[in-house]
């Protein structure tokens, strides 16, 4: 039995995970329901010699987070819906300039100021398409306080490994929920740090990728002089209008995620072994869905739960396999239908896909998914 079990709030577990992963820099702006992440970072970072700064706005929070990472520190920022909208500009910069960092979005009801203290899962598509232009996206979505701790570490590792911003999606429910968390895993945690150049400083090519498609990243001030820009650039880091350069850069940016999907895509399968009916749900909704699955099983229905933990890139292969196994999939999410469109895209050839959503700021409870499932299965 571990002796490092604590009762933590979801947002608190996020900061604990970030610190365990090696976070040394945080720049952000207060916004409900993510504010505790900033508050706890402000308290804990200077105590380990790290830095916290409250910026003048969300845009600056994202910009400073990228600046901190370029100076060599593992960096994070956290926000919620309206702030996530503002972060999109520099999130795109992070993608094109390949700057590792973690952006937490504790989702709340939208659009606009919406329902600041109510839960939502309305930013699933914004996490993918929020910033303009095609770009690589990694977004993860845990469903318990323990998993927030574990997945936050995972987000930092993926950011460092793939040199890209990683989005951690939470919802107000799991962010403000308190559960026990085993922090003892801290000592056995695998920590990944970005590849840094070790060769000659003269002639360093900051965007020349190795075979794994990831270039070495030098910290500012270490002698590897480089130019970092949000313009389309070649391996030297300098801007170019050449169609070949643009194609090469974009292809590599997308491919570096694509070829590592196996490592990036995480999901949970619950009672799916013999299932002919599945619910697909994530975050807080997946907890209700699990309950529904158990009740349907009691009724003799062979139900199971598929829970994507990695939202982007899409768990396409797993969803296709699922669609070949079951007759019907219900996608339940706290929005008007976002993830369900992706499920339909990959699954509708093989099985029936139904949607259950809720947008009134109330969580989806097990009863309503149960009633909906019984109706669909009639």
């Amino acid at each position: 039995m571990s002796n490092n079990i604590k009762l933590l709030q979801g947002n608190e577990a996020c900061v604990e995970g970030a610190l365990a992963a090696g976070m040394e820099f945080y720049a952000g702006y207060p916004i409900t329901p993510s504010t505790e992440i900033a508050e706890i970072s402000a308290q804990k970072l200077p105590a380990i010699g790290g830095h916290f700064i409250q910026m003048e706005d969300e845009i600056a929070g994202m910009a400073a987070t990228l600046g901190g990472s370029l100076a060599g520190k593992k960096s994070m920022t956290a926000t919620s819906g309206p702030g996530f909208s503002l972060k999109q500009e520099n999130l795109g910069y992070g993608c094109i300039a390949e700057i590792p960092c973690v952006i937490v979005n504790v989702q709340r009801g939208g659009p606009s100021t919406g329902l600041p203290t109510s839960p939502s899962q309305g930013d699933i598509m914004q996490a993918k398409w929020g910033t303009h232009g095609d770009h690589p996206v990694i977004a993860l979505y845990p469903n318990s306080v323990q998993e927030i701790f574990d997945i936050t570490i995972e987000c930092f590792n993926m950011a460092e490994k793939y040199r890209t911003p990683v989005i951690l999606l939470l919802d107000e429910i799991i962010a403000h929920m308190r559960e026990k968390v085993d922090l003892s895993s801290k000592d056995s945690i695998k920590i990944i740090n970005r590849k840094r150049p070790t060769g000659p400083k003269e002639g360093y090519l900051p965007y020349k990728a190795d075979e794994d498609l990831i270039p070495n990243m030098a910290d500012f001030g270490t002698g590897y002089r480089q130019h970092v820009t949000g313009l389309t650039h070649d391996v030297t880091g300098f801007p170019s209008n050449s169609p070949t350069v643009a194609l090469d850069m974009m292809t590599r940016l997308m491919k570096k995620i694509e070829i590592n999907k196996k490592d990036i895509i995480k999901f949970e399968e619950y009672r799916l072994e013999d299932a002919d009916f599945a619910i697909v749900a994530f975050g807080a909704t997946s907890r209700a869905a699990k309950d529904t699955v158990n009740r349907l099983r009691e009724d003799g229905i062979k139900a199971g739960l598929f829970r994507p933990i990695t939202i982007w890139p899409l768990a396409e292969d797993a969803l296709i396999s699922l669609s070949k196994k079951v007759n019907t999939i219900i996608v339940a999410e706290m929005n008007m239908g976002q993830y369900v469109n992706e499920v339909e895209r990959v699954a509708c050839k093989n099985c029936n896909v139904e949607f259950y959503g809720r947008i009134d700021g109330q969580p989806i409870n097990p009863d309503e998914i149960y009633d909906f499932a019984r109706e669909v299965l009639k």
């Binding site: 040394e24 820099f25 720049a27 200077p46 105590a47 010699g49 830095h51 700064i53 910026m55 003048e56 706005d57 845009i59 600056a60 910009a63 400073a64 987070t65 990228l66 600046g67 901190g68 990472s69 370029l70 100076a71 060599g72 520190k73 960096s75 500009e89 520099n90 910069y93 910290d219 500012f220 001030g221 270490t222 002698g223 002089r225 480089q226 130019h227 970092v228 820009t229 949000g230 313009l231 300098f238 801007p239």
Partner: protein, 273 residues
């Protein structure tokens, strides 16, 4: 160091010539910044030059240091992150009038308020040049821009007053004509351990000049000479300052710097442990 030696030492020669139009004052301003760095014998490896978007912000690409060409208006926000995460870096921000006082106005006043050790050089050409001549916050009232076809009805920002009021601890203005004075101001700005703001008045013969019938590049350069008067002279002989714009060192009062204040918190917590 003569200019060609300066170019060899501090510029990415293969990236030159620059993209600025013939007669643009930005090259002189960029030269003054590098000259100041050379005069202070700073370690180029420890210098980080951050810029935003616009004509001014292309300067970072030509300068052989750690350079960061960011998004429009956000240079100071990126620079704040760089400086906080590694206070040993000497951080300079190169920006323009639109970049730092319109889209990036919020970042300017808050960087100044914090007194974080960043030296900001604002290339002020009174217009949005990169997009073809729209009015900016420093376009004089009644002047023309492509988006002010009937004359600009906006009041203009005095960038130096803005920076000073917001809390910058070193503030000065000079023009591309007075390159030597500009160099000195940049030097003093870098030496100030805190937020320094230097307005470098430049000229845009292509858009601002043409639209407002200000003559050719030479005539515009003449205005950068004749329209300005040093604050010290103006104080002694106010009659000379009539209808002139002040330049020189406006403010120089060091205060405790931001990252040093934060370091005190770190040190205090270390002791308590």
């Amino acid at each position: 160091m003569n200019t060609s030696a300066l170019v060899k030492e501090y510029f990415r020669e293969e990236k030159l010539p620059h993209i600025w139009c013939p007669g643009c004052g930005h090259g002189i301003v960029m030269h003054a910044v590098v000259r100041a760095i050379d005069n202070l014998k700073l370690d180029p490896e420890k210098i980080c030059i951050v810029s935003g978007i616009g004509c001014s912000s292309r300067a970072s690409g030509y300068m052989n240091f750690n350079t960061l060409h960011t998004t429009h208006g956000r240079a100071l926000a990126f620079a704040t992150g760089v400086k906080m995460a590694n206070p040993n870096l000497e951080v300079l921000v190169l920006t323009g009038d639109g970049d730092c006082s319109a889209i990036g106005g919020n970042h300017l006043i808050h960087a100044a308020r914090r007194n974080i050790d960043i030296t900001t050089i604002a290339f002020n050409n009174n217009i949005y040049g990169m997009t073809g001549g729209q009015y900016s916050p420093t376009t004089p009232t009644d002047s023309y821009g492509t988006t002010a076809p009937y004359g600009n009805i906006d009041k203009t920002f005095d960038l130096c007053n803005l920076a000073k009021a917001a809390g910058a601890t070193y503030v000065g203005r000079s023009t591309a004509y007075y390159a030597k004075q500009l160099t000195t101001l940049v030097e003093n700005g870098i030496k100030n351990k805190g937020f320094s703001f230097i307005e470098a008045v430049s000229s845009c013969p292509t858009y601002y000049g043409r639209k407002n019938k200000k003559g050719d590049a030479v005539e515009m350069m003449k205005s950068l000479k004749d329209d300005y008067i040093d604050i010290k002279i103006a104080e002694k002989k106010p009659e000379l300052a009539e209808s002139k714009i002040l330049m020189g060192e406006f403010y120089n009062k060091p205060e405790e710097e931001y990252t040093e204040k934060y370091q005190k918190i770190i040190d205090l917590l270390k002791k308590e442990r």
